[in-house]
């Protein structure tokens, strides 16, 4: 044989030795897994009770994280397009746990008149506007029909306060907004549907029983379906016209823009005082309105989320600790019970690592079952929350965290009992009664 051929066969030999080794390890681990399944299913009640701590721990973290994650998503949706320097005054709070209290439900509507009063009482603001919304309306232009559009009634400030730049044409003047002029501004999506081949400005559209002239259109905003509907499918009309069309018995939202972002907080404090006067509240009465801005909503939520996360992680860590101790305890019991079996396995040729792996895999499998049950219960809890119309969504990382941590716990808890088993003297272990 030439030298090259000899070398080549040497390489092949080494490669095949390696794959033989890999094959043996794979067979061994598969056997260990089978064995662990058999021995766990032989003690169903005991295994189940052992798992309780881990199940509770993982359930807590998964369900809490899904509630927080869902809340976060719903906040991001509800924030919509309020500009960064803008805060809003409204009748009801944006986020609420459970039902609204009767005091809140008894609040009087906010009116356009109050908005105009606030404008006079708050000269520190850059501008004060009012707006009101309807959703899922039909707009038509000739044979073209746009379904499901959002209808906004606004003052002249509507477009700037909501961060909706005018793309072509114009917005409303103050006079038009206050005199129910039959005009409208369309979002880019509405223009696409109603006027597929041409300019919308100067055309007429029908909204309910009214025919309106299009005076402008908003720049295309884009945004996916996760952003809470298509923000481009919009028709904005003067607020007075809106109230004429859909009824006056509704509360308006008042939007206030600061001159500078730094002044937001100060301006909100001033606005509370000014608006209490506009509402004619007695000095001792509580505010009968809510203030809301992107910043404040996010800050309140983040604070809450931080506390809840910390608390649930603490509960989770505690239950996992208890669960881990439980797993270690049951593994020690298993090693003691199965001393003779271990002796026999060693007598039949099991090396230390085989015995070690057998018990470690059993512990990991046990803990992992706990993790899986915990995650499934977390999903069940989320489904219940959904049923109660609470926004909840299990984040992928919570599943990974739950499963990963429980497997890790199993590993940690299993190593010591498994090491004890692997070090047993076979001659002594075989005689164990």
């Amino acid at each position: 044989m030439s030298e090259i051929a000899a070398q080549a066969s040497g390489v092949r030999l080494r490669a095949s030795a390696w794959s033989e080794r890999a094959r043996r390890v794979a067979i061994a681990r598969l056997d260990d897994l089978r064995l662990a399944f058999a021995s766990l299913s032989g003690h169903k009640l005991r295994s189940g009770l052992t798992l309780l701590g881990i199940v509770i721990g993982v359930f807590t973290v998964v369900s809490m994280m899904s509630l927080l994650h869902g809340l976060q998503n719903s906040i991001d949706k509800n924030m919509g397009g309020l500009g960064a320097d803008v805060f809003q005054i409204q009748k009801f709070p944006n986020f609420n746990f459970g039902a609204l209290s009767p005091e809140i439900l008894r609040r009087k509507n906010l009116t356009v008149t109050q908005a105009l009063q606030l404008r006079d009482l708050l000269p520190q603001a850059k501008q004060v506007g009012a707006e009101v919304w309807e959703f899922g309306k039909e707009i038509s232009a000739g044979k073209q029909i746009d379904q499901g559009g959002a209808v906004a009634g606004g003052t002249a400030e509507f477009f700037t306060n909501n961060n909706l730049p005018i793309g072509s044409g114009r917005g409303f003047s103050e006079a038009e907004a206050m005199s129910a002029s039959r005009i409208c501004v369309l979002g880019a999506g509405a223009v696409d549907v109603l006027f597929p081949n041409g300019d919308a400005i100067g055309q007429r559209v029908r909204l309910g029983r009214l025919e309106l002239e299009v005076v402008g259109s908003v720049e295309r905003l884009g945004g996916g379906p996760l952003g809470g509907g298509n923000p481009d499918n919009l028709i904005a009309i003067p607020i007075t016209l809106f109230l004429e069309l859909y009824g006056t018995g509704r509360s308006v939202n008042i939007t206030v823009m600061a001159k500078k972002h730094d002044e937001m907080q100060k301006l909100q404090d001033l606005a509370i005082g000014a608006f209490r006067r506009a509402r004619g509240l007695a000095a001792t009465a509580d505010n009968d309105f809510e203030m809301f801005s992107n910043d404040s909503a996010r800050a309140t939520f983040d604070q809450l989320a931080g506390t809840v996360t910390a608390a649930s992680l603490f509960i989770c860590a505690l239950s996992l600790l208890v669960g881990g101790i439980g797993v270690m305890n049951i593994m020690l019991v298993a090693v003691a019970e199965r001393t003779r079996e271990i002796g026999l396995r060693k007598a039949l040729g099991a090396r230390r690592t085989r015995i070690l792996m057998q018990f470690v895999i059993e512990a990991v499998l046990l803990a992992c079952f706990g993790g899986i049950i915990g995650v499934l219960l977390g999903f069940a809890g989320t489904a219940v929350a959904h049923f109660l119309t609470f926004p909840a969504e299990v984040p992928a990382w919570a599943i990974a965290l739950g499963l990963g941590v429980s497997c890790g716990i199993g590993l940690l808890a299993g190593i010591y009992p498994a090491a004890r088993a692997s070090r047993l003297d076979p001659a002594v272990a075989l005689r164990d009664e």
């Binding site: 396995r345 007598a347 039949l348 040729g349 090396r351 001659a427 075989l430």
Partner: protein, 255 residues
């Protein structure tokens, strides 16, 4: 050819306060194909000797060669490999896994040899067939009689085709008729060129083996045809022989 060579084997158990000698100076050679009984009362050191021959334990001093390889100073894992490859154990209390079927019990040593599931199954079936349990493969130990259980254990010992079959009081937990059957099976296996070492306290059993070794107080005091070793006035012979051997040993140490 010698399968087992024991030279000056000493085993002392260290109990902290005192050292207890279990084996004092054992010389023994067993060839391939032999059927040897090791007899002795309890406390004679026969269990210790069995553990050493079975590589479950290592001697305190002396040399043990199995199939020509020195195994007296191997590590735990190396001993595990030797047991797996060279030795098939049969225990007094059968030592079967209660939840596993006869077939799965017999497969067990092959698991530690890295044999694939399919091949394990085939070889275990062959071994059970050999001990006459072809129709009981899926039975759990609890569903088998004592004799059948010991047959399963023997099949498990045979499945790896070991150089040595090492049986520790294999009839101890059986009634005499069933015990007879098991002894018959061992004779059968001996006829098929298996090397068998049988540890027992029953002279009657030893008498039926071609060769027997008598152990008293950790010393070999008789080695010869089974009938002679077992049936001589065992105890009297034992006491006298031990005295002689101890004197001879003392003399060697002084010199």
């Amino acid at each position: 050819m010698a399968l087992i060579e024991l030279e000056h084997i000493v085993k002392t158990y260290d109990l902290g306060l005192s050292k207890v000698p279990a084996l004092r100076d054992i010389h023994l050679q067993i060839d391939r194909g032999e059927f040897v009984a090791i007899v002795g009362q309890s406390g004679s050191g026969k269990s210790t000797l069995m553990n050493i021959i079975g590589c479950l334990d290592v001697p305190t001093a002396g040399r043990y060669r199995l199939s020509g390889r020195d195994v007296s100073e191997l590590s735990d894992d190396e001993l595990a490999d030797v047991r797996n490859l060279e030795i098939g154990f049969v225990f007094q209390s059968f030592q079967l896994m209660p939840r596993a079927s006869a077939l799965e019990n017999v497969e067990l040593p092959l698991i530690y040899r890295g044999v694939s599931k399919k091949e394990r199954r085939a070889r275990a079936q062959g071994a059970l067939d050999l001990v006459g349990l072809a129709d009981r493969m899926t039975h759990k130990p609890a569903e088998l009689s004592g004799g059948q259980r010991q047959r399963v254990a023997i099949a498990r010992a045979l499945v790896t085709q070991p150089s040595l079959l090492l049986a520790d009081e294999p009839t101890g937990n059986l009634d005499s008729k069933t015990g007879e059957e098991i002894v018959g099976l061992f004779h059968d296996l001996h006829g098929r060129k298996n090397t068998i070492v049988l540890v027992t306290h029953e002279p009657k059993l030893a008498a039926r083996c071609p060769r027997a070794v008598r152990l008293v107080d950790g010393l070999v005091i008789a080695d010869g045809p089974g009938v002679k070793v077992a049936m001589g006035n065992a105890e009297a012979l034992g006491a006298e022989a031990v005295a002689q051997l101890l004197a001879a040993q003392a003399a060697t140490v002084q010199r």
